[in-house]
């Protein structure tokens, strides 16, 4: 019996290097994307991740045009493009009447068009996009190092700017009156989002990166009531999804990225229905009340 369980749950990772690499990459991504995703959800920026995946395309394409399939040049290009779009939309919203989400929408679409132009100008087909962005099963040492360093940097920076970042979310007016650094905090946060997404894209594919950022974060809202505990819950859910998804891809012969994200999606459905707070079940449950 035990050997049976071992064969299902642990043997794949023991037998294959690429499975171990993929698992570690998942765990690293989960650590970084969990808190970032939670903050995105809390700041009502849930679609930013998806939009950014399109915004980075010209940067990655440029990196590819300059130095071929080099992980670092494409990542750098992607980060530059993502940051340009994020920062420009922030600037436009601060200097004009347009709100951030509108200017962001405009910019990422323009960026995507530019990216498609660059890719097709080269003469190769649009399938280059699939080559430009990776898959978790192909993550090599360089990709692992990149994801791990970005995660570490993210956690350190988040810990450092935690308080002003939270205040900027909850009561930006107050932050404005006691400190002029509100805009800076917002900027740093955007930088972290772009970094995590682009690292995720390069190492693991666009679906994976955005999915691991958003789905666990949204699910975590049903299990925790404070920011730090929600972030922790998101990390755990992301890691579980990665592990279970990889096993599903292995035993069920299903594509890896979608398996992991589907597992995360199932976690979401489960959380919506029977999460500890605010779920369907918890709201309808005839809870025993206290006397005071």
């Amino acid at each position: 019996m035990l050997s049976h369980l071992w064969a299902i749950f642990l043997a794949p990772f023991q037998d294959f290097i690429f499975m171990r690499h993929a698992l570690v990459a998942c765990l690293a991504l989960a650590l970084g994307c969990g808190p970032i995703g939670v903050l995105l959800v809390l700041r009502s920026m849930s679609l930013v991740g998806d939009a950014l995946s399109h915004a980075v395309l010209p940067g990655v394409a440029l990196g590819f045009l300059v130095s071929g399939l080099s992980l670092y040049s494409m990542t750098l290009g992607g980060i530059a493009a993502g940051l340009a779009v994020a920062l420009l939309s922030g600037a436009v919203s601060r200097l004009t009447l347009l709100r951030e989400d509108a200017s962001f929408a405009a910019l990422y679409l323009a960026s995507l068009a530019l990216g498609v132009l660059l890719v097709s100008w080269r003469g190769s087909s649009l399938d280059l996009v699939h080559v430009l962005f990776g898959t978790i099963l192909a993550v090599d040492d360089a990709g692992l190092v990149m994801v791990a360093s970005i995660t570490t940097a993210t956690l350190l920076i988040l810990a450092f700017i935690y308080r002003p970042l939270i205040v900027e979310c909850v009561d930006p007016g107050f932050l404005r009156s006691v400190s002029g650094k509100g805009a800076l905090m917002h900027l740093i946060f955007l930088v972290l989002v772009v970094l995590n997404l682009v690292a995720g894209f390069q190492a693991l594919g666009t679906l994976m990166a955005v999915g691991m950022m958003m789905l666990p974060a949204v699910s975590a809202r049903f299990w925790a009531r404070q920011v730090w505990s929600t972030a922790l819950a998101a990390m755990v859910i992301a890691m579980l999804s990665g592990y279970a998804g990889l096993l599903l891809s292995y035993h069920g012969n299903l594509p890896s990225g979608p398996s992991i994200i589907l597992t995360a999606g199932l976690c979401y459905v489960f959380s919506v229905v029977c999460g500890a707070h605010g779920s369907i079940y918890s709201r309808y449950r005839a809870a025993q009340h206290l006397t005071g």
Binding site: F16, L69, A138, L254
Partner: protein, 308 residues
């Protein structure tokens, strides 16, 4: 202020002469070929009588090409269009219709005995996805001879004045193809049957394998369309290790990082780049059809020898 009348006359004369030369020389035939391999074959048959425009250039992916306005213009003003057929260019019918081209279309693979390929084949006969026609007929040199014949016929029909030129070119090139075919068979003859296995990321070598007796193992999900599954990769690694396959190759249009992972973990070195759906650039190792075949076979045979 006025130009000297002498100069004017001289210039005018030169223009007329130039124009005259143009009219006295033969106007080249505008031929549009869908992708680089067809373009190369057409150039060899047409020689300097044709101006060949290739839609999907070197290293391009003809399966998912998105036509540009320039492409539509090229097709519109073409005298002849050469397509592969066998459902390779799903986008071509619409392009021809939209461009308003009403001229003749040569289906190069006319007369080829088509193979079927499964969309999800791991090992020949093992698992099958939905079956579809394998369009990569040119990977069998014998079929290339048919292609050349079809192209020559098409050119002769459109430009009967130069029919003899086309026929001569076709014969010469077919002879070269014959030599190539013999050479390929010789290269593989020394390799025992069980070593004649190769793994590559694209199922473009079906005809190649059938023609020259090589088992092509195309791992599932490694094509440019679908995403890989961990189970299939694990099976592939297990198989390579078990069967001691040494010929492992990357395609020039799919994700190389994945193949590197597989190669590393199964203990083989990647054999270099094979060219299947497109030629390389002119400075690359596979800039013509003949070069492409020589490149591929040298690499494949070389890798197989490693395992003996």
């Amino acid at each position: 202020m006025s130009f000297s009348p002498t100069v004017l006359t001289l210039v005018l004369a030169l223009c007329l002469a130039g124009g005259g030369t143009a009219t006295t020389a033969e106007k080249k035939l505008n031929v549009v070929a869908t992708f680089s391999i067809l373009g190369d074959l057409t150039k060899n048959v047409g020689g300097n009588r044709v101006e060949v425009t290739t839609l999907v250039g070197p290293n391009g992916d003809v399966h998912v090409y998105e036509p540009t306005p320039a492409a539509a213009e090229a097709v519109r003003s073409a005298d002849l269009v050469v397509v592969n057929g066998l459902a390779l260019e799903g986008w071509m019918d619409r392009l021809i219709k939209n461009s308003g081209f009403k001229g003749p279309v040569v289906v190069a693979s006319q007369g080829v005995k088509p193979r079927e390929m499964a969309a999800g084949e791991l090992e020949e006969g093992a698992k099958h996805g939905p079956l579809m026609t394998d369009p990569h007929a040119w990977q069998d040199v014998g079929n290339a001879r048919l292609y050349v014949q079809n192209i020559a016929k098409g050119l002769e029909k459109v430009d009967p004045a130069s029919a003899s030129v086309y026929r001569a070119n076709a014969e010469a090139y077919t002879a070269k193809l014959g030599e190539l075919d013999q050479w390929v068979r010789k290269e593989f003859s020394g390799i025992p049957r069980q070593q004649r296995r190769m793994i590559t990321t694209h199922d473009a070598f079906g005809y190649f394998g059938a023609a020259y007796g090589i088992a092509i193992i195309s791992p599932v999900g490694f094509s440019t369309e679908s995403e890989a599954s961990a189970g299939d990769i694990a099976n592939l690694i297990k198989q390579i290790r078990r069967e001691k396959v040494t010929a492992v190759f990357m395609e020039n249009v799919s994700d190389p990082r994945l193949m590197e992972q597989v190669a590393k973990e199964s203990g083989v070195t990647l054999g270099g780049t094979l060219y299947s759906d497109a030629l390389s650039k002119s400075d690359g190792p596979a800039s013509t059809y003949l070069e492409m075949f020589k490149n591929n076979v040298t690499l494949i045979a070389g890798a197989m020898w490693k395992g003996i």
